[in-house]
Structures are given as structure tokens and as C-alpha cells.
């Protein structure tokens, strides 16, 4: 903190371009970019764009994503010899890649977001229950975690999809079972460690209910680690969805998703690489942005690092 006497406002954070301070030499721009590093701004911008696309997909797509135009098959993107009629080119059936990409981002992001949310909620709840009750309950939950961790998820997913058929809801719920065991393990370990620490005991001494101790004190204190592990889960769900879609068990055509596009674009990798590269780039950029923002959020959430 600054030592100047003019800066007595207690809510002043180091982040704000210090108003009234003598230390203005740092400059507004530098102070701004120290709090909001450019790469984080780019990542946030990209996530914002993705959210905008998710929200408005059918409105901003220039064509119907299923509309075929066999005369315009395999047109390259606009800057690579194609026309601006199809800015990202067309696929083997003459469908506009930009429209398909927009719808795919919507579908994939929705699946990944909802699944990660399910996995996070399930994992944190079970982890906290294990940490709170200990004993038998904890053993049972740990057994479930070990059982889940010892089976390849791909095989479970294949079996479930083969027996129960495929629908978007079922698919999302199934993906929600991916990665919960890691989050549960982390949540349990951190919650046990936190209850040994003074702050949880002292809040219990104030008369706080377990809900309050876990929800208002332990969860915010361990959230940074959980968020990082959930941001790691997010891209993995996108990749898993791609794998399953590629095997024909994920999102079914004519519906499309990023993984579905990569899977079917693979056949044209030599003659029309853009069919596969466009959704791949979207996957990379989305997952990278989420990881960067997750890491940045961890630092922001920790007041001792400010």
C-alpha cells in the first residue's frame, strides 16, 4: 500500500489508478494494463465473442447451416481464392462453413459449459459431504471416485450411448459425469485441510451452520484451485465430445458441433483442409482463452496476491 497521507480511503485497491496519491508517475495506461494484462483482455474478448455467438447464433449466421449448394462445393475461404459469398468457404456438400461454425460453437460451448457445471456441482457437493461426514460416508464416496477413475470414460460413454440411444440432453448429462471425480477429490482434500485451519474452526465457534462454513468460508477460500481444475475440464469435454462425434456416437448429423465438423472434415484434409482447420482453430482459441482467464481469475480471487 502507499504510504501517502492523502490516501486514507480504505477501499482503495492497488488496482485503481491511484487517485489523490502522489504516486501518479506510473501512468494510467500502465496501471490499467497491470491489472488487465493484454493477453487476458484478448482472451476475455474472445470469450465474450463466443458468448455473443452462443446467444445469437441463428440470427447472425448468414445461411441456414444445413442448406446445401452442390454447385459451390469445397470453395476455399475468401482470402485463399474463394469469394466473400462464403467467407470461410464451403464443405463437401456446399454448406457455408461460417454458418456451420457459428452453430457448432453454440452447440459445443453449451455442451461443455453445462457438463462442466454438472461435473463441478456434483464433484464439489460429494467432496464436501465426504469432508463433513468423514467415516462411512467418506469411504462410500471415495469408493465411487475410485470406481469412476478406474474406468476409461470413453468406454462408459460408448456403452451408455449404445444402449440408451442419443439425445442432446442425455449427451450433456453423460458428459457431466466426466471429470467429477477429480473435482470431488480436490474439493474433499482442500475442505479437510481447511477445516483443520483456524478460520473454519473460529467461524464454527461463532455459531455458524455447516452450510455457512462450507458455502461462505471454505468454498471461496478453495475456489481458486477448483476453478483452475474446472477450466481444465472444459476443453477436455470439448475434445471428448469431438472424439465421440467422430466415432458417430456424439452429436448426430444433420446437427453439428465443433468435434463433429473436425471428424467429418478429416476426409478432406488434403484437398480442402479449411473444413477441418476452421473448427480446430475455434477449439484451440476457446480452450486457450478459458485457461488464460481461469488462471487470471485465480489471481484476482486471492486478495493476498493483489
Amino acid at each position: 500500500m502507499t504510504i501517502d497521507s492523502g490516501n486514507l480511503n480504505p477501499t482503495t485497491q492497488a488496482s485503481r489508478p491511484s487517485g489523490g496519491s502522489f504516486f501518479t508517475s506510473k501512468g494510467r495506461y500502465r496501471a490499467f494494463f497491470e491489472t488487465w494484462p493484454p493477453i487476458v483482455l484478448i482472451a476475455l474478448f474472445f470469450i465474450g465473442l463466443a458468448i455473443f455467438v452462443v446467444a445469437t447464433a441463428p440470427l447472425i449466421a448468414p445461411y441456414d447451416f444445413m442448406a446445401m449448394d452442390l454447385r459451390d462445393r469445397l470453395t476455399p475461404p475468401a482470402l485463399f481464392g474463394g469469394t466473400w459469398a462464403h467467407p470461410l468457404g464451403t464443405d463437401e456438400l456446399g454448406r457455408d462453413l461460417l454458418s456451420r461454425l457459428i452453430i457448432s460453437i453454440r452447440v459445443s460451448m453449451m455442451i461443455a459449459f453445462l457438463s462442466t457445471l454438472i461435473a463441478g456441482t456434483l464433484g464439489i457437493t460429494l467432496g464436501f459431504l465426504a469432508a463433513y461426514f468423514r467415516g462411512r460416508v467418506e469411504q462410500l464416496i471415495m469408493m465411487l471416485i475410485d470406481a469412476q477413475a478406474s474406468m476409461p470414460f470413453m468406454i462408459i460413454a460408448l456403452a451408455v450411448l449404445a444402449f440408451l440411444g442419443n439425445s442432446l440432453v442425455l449427451f450433456i448429462v453423460l458428459m457431466g459425469f466426466y471429470g467429477w471425480e477429480r473435482i470431488a477429490r480436490i474439493a474433499r482434500g482442500l475442505a479437510i485441510a481447511a477445516t483443520e485451519q483456524g478460520y473454519a474452526t473460529s467461524v464454527r465457534d461463532l455459531g455458524a451452520s455447516p452450510m455457512r462454513i462450507y458455502g461462505r468460508h471454505i468454498l471461496p477460500n478453495i475456489a481458486s484451485t477448483l476453478i483452475v481444475s474446472m477450466t481444465l475440464n472444459f476443453p477436455e469435454v470439448i475434445l471428448l465430445e469431438s472424439g465421440l462425434s467422430f466415432l458417430g456416437l456424439g452429436v448426430q448429423p444433420p446437427m453439428t458441433s465443433l468435434g463433429n465438423m473436425v471428424g467429418y472434415g478429416r476426409d478432406y484434409i488434403q484437398s480442402a483442409p479449411w473444413i477441418m482447420l476452421v473448427p480446430s482453430a475455434a477449439i484451440v482459441l476457446t480452450t486457450l482463452s478459458i485457461s488464460i482467464v481461469g488462471d487470471w481469475m485465480r489471481d484476482r480471487f486471492d486478495p493476498t496476491l493483489r
Binding site: 500500500m1 486514507l8 480511503n9 480504505p10 477501499t11 485451519q197 483456524g198 478460520y199 474452526t201 473460529s202 467461524v203 464454527r204 465457534d205 461463532l206 455459531g207 455458524a208 451452520s209 455447516p210 455457512r212 468460508h217 471461496p220 477460500n221 480471487f301 486471492d302 486478495p303 493476498t304
Partner: protein, 333 residues
């Protein structure tokens, strides 16, 4: 009148494994072994003793953090258990604790005004956030924290300021009993005095009773209405501070007092140096636990455990003292 806190023969034993045999052997660690004391309303009992004698365990038993092995703790007639149910939580309104490790006791992600206002959020759900904040500010004022610190986080404060936050939070609901476990031992001497004076002032204003635990005899003497000296899980001497400190009877208390450094009287008071370390609480010597280091040890001390007795308030657990007390009237005859 019924005492506020009534502790009857409480024991806390731990099963531990000690070296010995192929896989080690089981042993019983008697952290607290039969304590009995009362605290009246508004009274402060100072509990003093060296490290590992069971002071903090006593605090945790009184607060109901850990279950009792034997005995009973009653707070205003209600038994204190270690079942953390709604009764236990409701009782927290009336008994609170002040900790040694203040950085650990505060949530580092919440501002101090939020933390001081938290007891209201827990026990008075009808209170609005604005009212809570105002109450927190007035509490901060009463413990000598400036209002502009309200938005600070615990790590931005000094140790003394953090202890003030902990005290303000503990006193938010005006409890009847405050258990202070080494509240000032992590602070500088000058800050210690400030915090002790603050506690003293607050006690005069609100009249809470306190169990004041410390290894520092000066601090206990300043704060207490009554003092109990502990050795290896038992009370060896108890009484008013002047009686215990000026007319110490138990050889352990005498040795403790002789170890207080004083600027005056250098060389005049004899320093009693005890031989050896305190025995491990895993195998406490039979009879009087102190007989291995006691200058007055007799044959009886190895066999019988001495009981706390004496006249008036000043009680001692020592065979040697009891014998002289018995023979004194005889000699007078």
C-alpha cells in the same frame, strides 16, 4: 448462586503409539487429567502452566471442540457437549473464544468489517446488511480500530490490530464467557499491554467472565481474579493472585514464580532451578506427578496422588504442605 461455568473432574485422554516393541506400543496420553473449577459471573480465572501441560486442551474441552473422556462441563446449568448441533451453535451466543493465531482465525478473503459483523448475520438473520455494518463499525470503535480500516483484509493489519478484530468479533453478541487461549503471546510486549488493557476495559464495561490461559505469569496476574496453576494435566495450586504469587506453597509454583525476570531485587530472590524436563504426559509418574523434580519429595508422594485442599480459597495439592499444615496446630499446643 449457580456458577456460570462449572467444570467437574474433566479428563481428556488420547490413544497414541509410542516407540517400543516391533510396531510400537499403545499408550494413553493424559492431556487433561481431572480438572475441577468454577467460574462465577464476571469473574476471570487465569490458567497458567508450562507448554504441554494441557492448558489449551482445557480451553477446547470447555468450548466443546473435542469430546470429554470423563467428567462434565456445564455452562449456566446446560451441559457443554462436543456434538455440534443447533443447541451447541445457539450456546455460542453466550460463550466465545479469542485465539493466539489471529491470522489463522480470520478468513483472509473477507474484509474485517464483514468478519466482525458475521455473528449478527449468523444469530440475527433479520438484521439488514447496513445495520450489520453499523454495528461492526461501532464495535471497531470500541476496540480502538479506526473506521477507515473497515475495508481492509486481515493480512493488511498488524498482529495487535488483528487481535482487536478477533476480540471485537468475539464480543459482538455480548457473551457471558470469553475463553482466551494465549491471546497475547504472539504479540510484542508493548502491544501486549495495549491488548490486555483493552480486554480489561471491555470487561469492566460489559462484565463478561473469562477463562484466561497463558504461560506468562505477569499477564495472568494482571488479568485474573483467581489463578490456577497446572502441571501435567492437573491443577496443583489455586487461589487469589496475591495469595498464589506472594505466598506460593506448592514447590512447582514457587519454582515458576522464581523464574519471573525482575529488574529489581536482583540476587535477593533465590532462583529455584528444577532438575530435568517435565515427564512425558504419556507416562506420568504415579502418585504426585511432580515428585520426580520436587525438592520436597517424600515416600508418600510416589504412592498417593495429593488432593487439592487448604483453608479458604487458597488450595494446594501437595503432601508436604498438607503434612506441615496438620502438624502446625500440634506444635502450637
Amino acid at each position: 448462586m449457580r456458577p456460570l461455568l462449572s467444570v467437574r473432574d474433566i479428563k481428556r485422554h488420547y490413544q497414541v503409539r509410542v516407540p517400543g516393541g516391533f510396531f510400537g506400543r499403545d499408550a494413553l496420553l493424559k492431556a487433561v487429567d481431572g480438572l475441577t473449577f468454577d467460574i462465577k459471573r464476571g469473574e476471570t480465572l487465569g490458567l497458567v502452566g508450562e507448554s504441554g501441560c494441557g492448558k489449551s486442551t482445557t480451553a477446547r474441552l470447555v468450548m466443546g471442540h473435542i469430546p470429554l473422556t470423563a467428567g462434565s462441563v456445564a455452562f449456566d446449568g446446560q451441559p457443554v457437549t462436543a456434538r455440534h448441533d443447533s443447541d451447541w451453535r445457539a450456546m455460542r451466543r453466550r460463550m466465545q473464544m479469542v485465539y493466539q493465531d489471529t491470522l489463522g482465525a480470520l478468513d483472509r478473503r473477507l474484509t474485517i468489517s464483514d468478519q466482525i459483523g458475521e455473528p449478527f448475520a449468523i444469530h440475527e438473520p433479520l438484521m439488514t446488511a447496513r445495520q450489520r455494518h453499523e454495528r461492526a463499525l461501532s464495535l471497531m470503535d470500541s476496540v480502538g480500530l479506526r473506521a477507515d480500516m473497515a475495508g481492509r483484509f486481515p493480512h493488511e493489519l498488524s498482529g495487535g490490530q488483528r487481535q482487536r478484530v478477533v476480540i471485537a468479533r468475539a464480543l459482538a453478541l455480548s457473551p457471558d464467557l470469553l475463553v482466551c487461549d494465549e491471546p497475547v503471546s504472539a504479540l510484542d510486549v508493548s502491544i501486549q499491554a495495549q491488548v490486555l488493557n483493552l480486554l480489561d476495559d471491555l470487561r469492566e464495561q460489559t462484565g463478561f467472565a473469562a477463562l484466561f490461559i497463558s504461560h506468562d505469569l505477569k499477564v495472568v496476574r494482571q488479568m485474573s481474579d483467581r489463578v490456577a496453576v497446572m502441571y501435567l494435566g492437573k491443577i496443583v495450586e489455586t487461589g487469589a493472585p496475591e495469595a498464589v504469587f506472594k505466598r506460593a506453597q506448592h514447590p512447582y509454583t514457587k519454582a515458576l514464580i522464581s523464574a519471573i525476570p525482575t529488574p529489581r531485587n536482583r540476587g535477593r530472590r533465590e532462583r529455584i532451578v528444577l532438575e530435568g524436563d517435565p515427564p512425558s504426559p504419556v507416562d506420568v509418574p504415579p502418585g504426585c506427578a511432580f515428585h520426580t523434580r520436587c525438592p520436597l519429595a517424600m515416600a508418600q508422594c510416589r504412592l498417593d496422588t495429593p488432593l487439592l485442599s487448604g483453608d479458604g480459597d487458597h488450595l494446594v495439592a501437595c503432601h508436604a504442605i498438607h503434612q506441615t499444615a496438620q502438624s502446625a496446630p500440634l506444635a502450637a499446643e
